[in-house]
Amino acid sequence: MKIGVYVCHCGGNISEVVDIKKLTASAEQQSEVAVVRDNAHMCSDVGRNLVLEDIKKHKLDRIVVAACSPQFHGKTFMDIVEKAGLSPYVFEMANIREQCSWPHFNEPDLATKKAKDLVSVALAKARLDESLSRKTMPIGKRVLVVGAGIAGIQAALDLGDAGFEVYLVEKEATIGGKMAQLSRTFPTEDCAACILSPKMADVPANPNITLFTNSEIEKVSGFLGNFEVIINKKPTYVNDQCVACGVCEEKCPVKIPNEFEQGLTNRRAIYVPFEFAVPYRYLIDESNCIYLKKGKCGNCKKVCPHDAVDFDQKAEKVELKVDTIIVATGYDIFDAKEKKVYGFGTNKNVITSLAMERMIVHEAEGRATREIGKRVAFIQCVGSRDEQIGNEYCSRICCMYATKLSQLLKRADPKKDVYVFYTDLRAFGKGFEEYYKRAQKTGVKFIRGRVAEVNEDSKTGRVTIKAEDTLARQIIESEFDLVVLSVGMTPGAGTRQAAEVLRMTKSPGGFLQEAHPKFKPVDTLNDGVFICGCAQGPKDIPDTVAQASAAASRAIRLMNKGVYAVEPITAVVDEDLCSGCGTCVSVCPYEAVKTEIKDDKRVAKVNEMLCQGCGSCSAACPSGASQQHWFMNKQLKAMVGAALGEEEK
């Protein structure tokens, strides 16, 4: 065996703390080590070629690189090892940056000692590495996109345009998501409906996209290249013959608050979600329809000239096979009723920012739905940055949408007094600071201080806000006609459901977890499943669209070649030792292990395609029958031995 050891300086990140000379000298003393080299940047072209040439020249068969985290450059070096004709799994990385020089920057001697130990550990493992090889599997071009807000729409259009077969599933009766409800978009003030509706119309026009509205994913099984999906298509009680003439709506006796309009107007039980809905077709709200609840009425069916109303429609299950999945399930706005001190729900002059979006649309269209009043106050961070209600995170959009809404109000009526009470004002994006300045020029007053109380005068209904202007260090107690709560984002029911159905990992705030915050921002820990938009975390429209295109491109990257490589780091069962107890089956998070009868004996069997190499089964196996390639028990023992300074055997 001939091992090559390569020590990286990381441009000083490592070498300023760890004594490289001592480290290389120590590595040279280790058994089987044939070559030891160091370089300022092992990951550079020069560094990579060093490894490549050494493997050929010295006939090396194991490589150890002591540098940064394998999360960072593991793949870089594995590719080099593979390029040299070796298995990429005869390579080990000793992380002497994140696990050594960075945390121990003030203890160079001990850091050098630890770096030596880390290299010994990597060497101990490398000596026992097997020449595993990646398998290739065929993969098709079918993608499931869950959620058809702006994120899902963008991802579906990109994939459809690139020639992939897209199934777009939306739980609501129309696509468009929350963006459809907005007035303008910051900082350019494009009309949201005007820029969104053409994209919505492109969806049914795209021959590669199959759209399922009013539908939810019920079950997903299988794995990358072979997902089996069951979609529950809920009944709309209106069939394809509907031409949206609207005769039915006129005859429907039910009046209930319109959700799309945030309750500012009413709708009927048979309705179109909004004027640019896609598909533009009526549906019946079964929880409010008198016929569906009591068997009486049926006016809509009687008057429909196209016989489109069908009360007998039932939920349908649709089964699909797809190769990759993009989750774009978005967010819900924070339920402001939870923040009792602001009185939302009990005080009619306290509204949410989403209602204000609608009011501005109505005002602009000349069909005002309620009086806005002369004095308007925005309260920021409602449901964000608030550990009292359990949301530690910043929702990112509220500063800018309040900056937008406040100046739209002020510009429409300069006589209005518009105030924004903020905790910190975050104008971080391109053009945002300029937009914030524009709001100030327009005459909006920004006050730095969190609002402590919103009190209602029971006689006049006017509301009084109490806060401290922290910059003037004065208490402000002032009366307003309307208080707008700048509500933050929460992961939402759709995202929670998707996380459950797809068994996805969540971040502390409840949003879906990406595989790596910097280098795999739209990948997830589930191979072939990607995330984008607000399902991953709060973000604005430009970031959402960018992420949606990124998710589409990451999915294309997997599918485009028609085959993909599978990591061989999977669990392996020693059938002689296995007692078939099934412990591994119960701990496996990917349903990758099953027990089966083989030669009259029950044994565990691993599906290598499903296995993600998490190691749960190996750790749980009571007999040691279940082990994991590249992390075999003998390797782990040797690593622990090396860490403890035991003599090599």
Partner: protein
């Protein structure tokens, strides 16, 4: 004026070690506490946000010697509302306890303690009071409550003050 050269970098960590001081670092200065504070409403020299800010800056002398530190009425309105979940009133208490340990206890508090040690009450019960109670048909009460002195002794506050 704040002289940053006088900043004591250990101060905030010392406060955080004390019971109630744990949440100190979480403060993002929104002033929900100050806006909720009934004391602040009437006397702007008291401001919990300012006390927390100066503590974070390490302005030990400025915080401990300030008479306004002792204005907190412990109504806990701030604790109820702090979006960062800081127990603000407890935090002010932690700073007060630290102040006493470092010899910054106001004279008024020391005098109250003496009264409690002597009588077990802050208000002296005289014969006049007992007669008045009798007239109203109320039972008599003891002029002194010696148990209070025992309780005070077991808290070691006297030793802390002597240091």
């Amino acid at each position: 004026m704040i002289d940053l050269k006088l900043s004591d970098p250990h101060f905030k960590w010392e406060i955080m070690k004390k019971e109630g001081g744990e949440g100190l670092l979480k403060c993002f200065g929104c002033s929900d506490c100050a806006a909720s504070c009934p004391v602040r409403y009437f006397d702007e020299r008291y401001n919990p946000r300012k006390i927390i800010r100066l503590t974070l800056l390490g302005m030990k002398e400025m915080v401990l010697s300030s008479p306004f530190l002792w204005f907190c009425a412990h109504c806990h309105a701030c604790t109820e509302r702090c979006p960062q979940g800081i127990k603000v009133a407890e935090l002010i208490n932690a700073i007060k306890n630290y102040a006493v340990e470092k010899g910054y206890c106001p004279e008024g508090y020391k005098m109250q303690l003496e009264l409690l040690m002597k009588m077990g009450r802050l208000y002296e019960v005289e014969d006049f009071d007992l007669k008045k109670r009798q007239r109203l048909g109320l039972p008599p009460i003891d002029k002194t409550i010696p148990d209070v002195a025992k309780i005070i002794e077991s808290t070691h506050i006297l030793k802390v003050l002597k240091k």
